[in-house]
Amino acid sequence: MTKQSRGAAFDPIFRYACVSAATLLLAALTGVVASLLIGGWPAFAKFGIGFFFDTTWNPVTEVYGAAGPIAGTLITSALALALALPIAAGVAIFLVEFCPGMLARPIAIAVELLAGIPSIVYGMWGLFVLAPWFAEHVQIPMLYVIPPGSIWETIFNGVPNGANIFTASLILAIMILPYMAAVFRELFLTVPPQVRESAYGIGCTPLEVVGSVTIPYVRSGAVGVIMLGLGRALGETMAVTFIIGNAHGLPTSLFDSGSTLASTIANEFTEATGEMHTAALTALGLVLFIITFTVLAIARLLLARARKY
């Protein structure tokens, strides 16, 4: 028996193994969606479309609306992205364009290590270090400076203890930053050296090279990185739970406390005894799933469109 024919005998088995792996994954996904839908159905059936727009979350009277957590999730994720994006891109550009070769590798490894810190550690750090610092050095001085009744007071109104939408976004930004920087770096490295070197050759400055060669070259991939970062921020649970202040209802200012879909589930699921309470929390899970799915779908769409140019 030759080596080749023996391989051929194993071929169908190999193929079936791969097919069943793929099927299993799809089945798991379908199962998750189905069980979220079934588990959350009592809430959707009772509150209807109002579930998405109602800001009440009252386990005593069993009236549940998801508007507060939905708003909290979208606001914190968007803010985190706005804070993290320029820094992540900056770190990656530094590593690729300016960093001396000897340092580039250690720094890149350090960035990847940062990405591996568990979220609970960020949460503890946020609660015990960032929140008190933020209260003392940002919120309390602002209380003295901001004239009462001004627009600034409306934007920055809140209890000065550092647990709010903004600090939660800050923690989220720090959490998605290393991940985004690491992927950005990989992305920038895909720019063929010849292209960049020719740009330098015709007298471009580093800023011009980055602005008119590197970024346009990786544009499609960059959108993907942003969306992946957003996807991670949307679902982040533990760190946010510790520092967002956990108030249901719509946040009214940047320094107001709020809640996210994931933090509400983490807070209340273990002790939820009522049928409707569990259903409402499961429904939140489905809403989070839909939002994350939509973000990823938009990312795919943008990527596909970007590839056409």
Partner: protein
């Protein structure tokens, strides 16, 4: 669906633990988990029988015992008698703790400030906004309060502690009962939520003028500035183990169907008003006599020999009279194939 999932998960856990001989399996409340673990360790050393306790929260404990995937469930929130009967369950109190309000006011010593339940409710409703409020001053003659805004801190996670706290506020304030009510998670009118006792404690520590509530053990270990609360007799007792035990001793257990008993606002001059027991749930009719016997034997041992280790962890043991009552109930109510599994003696 979720129930089935939880049951399947529970079954998997039980099967997983079945490998280690005949361990007793239980699941539920996180509050008593440290003392159950300590008891399990000592009990295993003495008898060779282990205990596999999953601290998954009271809600999970109730679901799992209803699904019969564990030998006992544990809950901080007792079930009402009709809920017990619906699933054929019996519950008994195992160990106690107390809830203590804590504050952050510069210069105030622990136990210096006195408040009533009604006033605490008004503070948590957002009706009393500053420490200089005349109603606070009226209860504390001779104490100078700063004109600081009051920041209310509560638990963000569903918890037995919040259930006891909101139940107490509901008892003392009709306005609270009407607007908010009692549950392990409620719609808080004001304030911010910290996750767990440590979350609440951290926010109180970090916010001048704040008030929160934590488990007694937590307040004690952190040397927090606790507040004295007026009890039913009009006194202001200290939050200490003896005064929690007084609540359980003065409570009329014989008149509590299904042992549904909140130890809130009980009579007695030294009784701490916000005391709470944590409960064990078992099926009245045990499918397996040996498992049923093992469970009762373990808790019998814990009643008899577990008090010292409970006290060392700042839990409060049940008074002897309550233990006797519970043992009698075991003898008369827990059966397998019509035969009692426990003989009181």
């Amino acid at each position: 669906m979720l129930k089935t999932l939880a049951a399947a998960l529970g079954a998997a856990l039980v099967i997983g633990s079945a490998a280690s001989a005949a361990d007793i399996s239980g699941a539920g409340a996180t509050f008593p988990a440290p003392v159950y673990a300590k008891w399990a360790e000592t009990y295993r050393a003495q008898t060779g029988t282990g205990l596999n306790y999953q601290a998954i929260g009271s809600g999970g404990g109730i679901k799992q015992i209803q699904a019969k995937t564990v030998a006992f469930g544990a809950t901080d929130k007792p079930l009402k008698v009709d809920e017990l009967n619906k699933s054929g369950l019996y519950q008994f109190p195992m160990v106690m703790g107390g809830v203590t309000p804590i504050v952050n006011l510069p210069g105030m010593k622990p136990g210096q400030i006195k408040l009533t339940g009604a006033l605490l409710a008004d503070i948590y409703l957002g009706g009393v906004k500053r420490w200089s409020d005349p109603r606070i001053a009226a209860l504390n003659p001779g104490v100078r309060f700063p004109n600081l805004p009051i920041t209310v801190v509560h638990r963000s996670d569903g918890s037995g502690t919040s259930f006891q706290w909101t139940s107490y506020l509901s008892m003392k304030s009709p306005a609270w009962a009407k607007q908010v009510g009692a549950n392990d998670a409620v719609q808080w009118p004001v304030g911010l939520g910290g996750k767990g006792n440590d979350g609440v404690s951290a926010f109180v520590k970090q916010t001048i003028g704040s008030i929160g509530y934590v488990e007694y053990a937590y307040a004690k270990q952190n040397r927090a500035t606790y507040v004295l609360v007026q009890n039913k007799a009009g006194q202001y007792p200290q939050p200490v183990a003896a005064n929690f035990a007084a609540a359980a001793a003065s409570a009329d257990w014989a008149k509590a169907p299904g042992n549904y008993m909140l130890l809130l606002d009980q009579p007695g001059a030294n009784t701490w008003p916000i005391t709470a027991a944590t409960f064990i749930l078992v099926h009245k009719t045990q499918a397996n006599a040996i498992t049923g016997q093992q469970v009762l034997k373990f808790f019998d041992w814990a009643y008899k020999s577990g008090d010292a280790s409970a006290a060392a962890l700042d839990y409060v043991p049940m008074p002897a009279a309550v233990k006797t009552l519970v043992r009698r109930q075991w003898a008369s109510q827990i059966k397998a194939a019509g035969k009692a599994l426990y003989t009181a003696g």
